[in-house]
């Protein structure tokens, strides 16, 4: 019997196929990674401190770094303009090097809400915010955010009044994305450190708001 040809065309995708979560086969790769690591240590190609250094570098970035960029943009209109024009250069100004890609910053306004997803895997500005949350990597979030973003946002408790535009950014290639949340109404009077504290990881992905959008009917 001749096997069915494998289709690599979009026309071959069955839209009703099930999405299965999980990491099938990951055990094998975890075991192989451990084995190779052990061999490299035994042969003194790697020292234990080399691995520690890489892990420390991966774990160093954190949400506060992104929050400081957001608070600076809320406080300083000229910084905000530079941030929206060239995210990587503006992050560098604050002392943060975006290593993996170019940073694109997208601004939430009273007429536009942005949300970030990586449909293909889990592309995320890791060198700025650290590792992404578990749900960002889930197939559920990745498949549904491009298809029904308002339903996904509603599950996060975020309501976008219908005259507003929802814009999904698929982080599928060489850019990384950061949402600049809409500033609280009293941002001008608040201290920088106080503003840094209210910015969460989810706000910078677009799945949480500082203040609800007002329904303009």
């Amino acid at each position: 019997m001749t096997p069915e040809p494998i289709g690599y065309s979009a026309d071959a995708v069955d839209p009703s196929r099930l999405v299965v979560e999980g990491h099938e086969g990951a055990d094998y790769y975890a075991l192989m990674t451990e084995a190779i690591h052990k061999i490299l240590l035994e042969k003194q190609v790697l020292a234990p401190s080399d691995t520690d250094r890489v892990i420390a570098a991966l774990e160093a970035p954190n949400v506060t770094w992104g929050a400081r960029i957001v608070a600076q943009a809320w406080k300083d209109p000229s910084y905000k303009a530079r941030l929206l024009a060239d995210g990587s250069a503006a992050a560098r100004e604050m002392g943060y090097a975006i290593k993996e890609a170019k940073l694109v910053v997208v601004e939430n306004t009273s007429s536009l809400h942005n949300i970030i997803v990586c449909t293909l895997c889990s592309c995320y500005p890791r060198s700025l915010l650290g590792q992404p949350p578990w749900w960002y990597i889930s197939k559920n979030y990745r498949a549904r955010t491009v298809r029904e973003p308002r339903a996904v946002l509603a599950e996060f408790g975020v309501a976008i009044p219908p005259p507003m535009e929802v814009r999904v950014h698929d982080s599928n290639a060489d850019m990384r994305y950061l949402v600049l949340p809409k500033a609280p109404a009293d941002a001008a009077e608040r201290r920088f450190d106080d503003l840094v504290r209210i910015v969460t990881r989810n706000m910078m992905i677009g799945t949480e708001l500082v203040e609800p959008y007002r329904d303009r009917g």
Binding site: S9, K102, T119, E165, V166, V168, D170, A173
Partner: protein, 97 residues
Amino acid sequence: MPRFTAGDRVTVLDLGKPGHVRIPWFIRHKTGRIERYCGAYPNPEDLAFGRPGLPAIDLYRVHFPQTELWPDYPGPPGDTLEIEVYDHWLEPAEPLT
């Protein structure tokens, strides 16, 4: 010199390539407009096989109305999606002037 500039209307091709391809199914055959030019990057379809991926390929962000991507899109008609597409996956949607 990039082939497209912001505002140009483009259609995403369906190249039928196997392997590490970064152009998801849901934008293939769809028409949008260039949002910005992102620069040139090594081709991920070659990088995945340990090759240099050179010469670098122009990358664009392409803007689509959600209703173009999903004819039965459940949200308002003003909702949109932006995604990165490499030059060799694009063709002009109408003759460039």
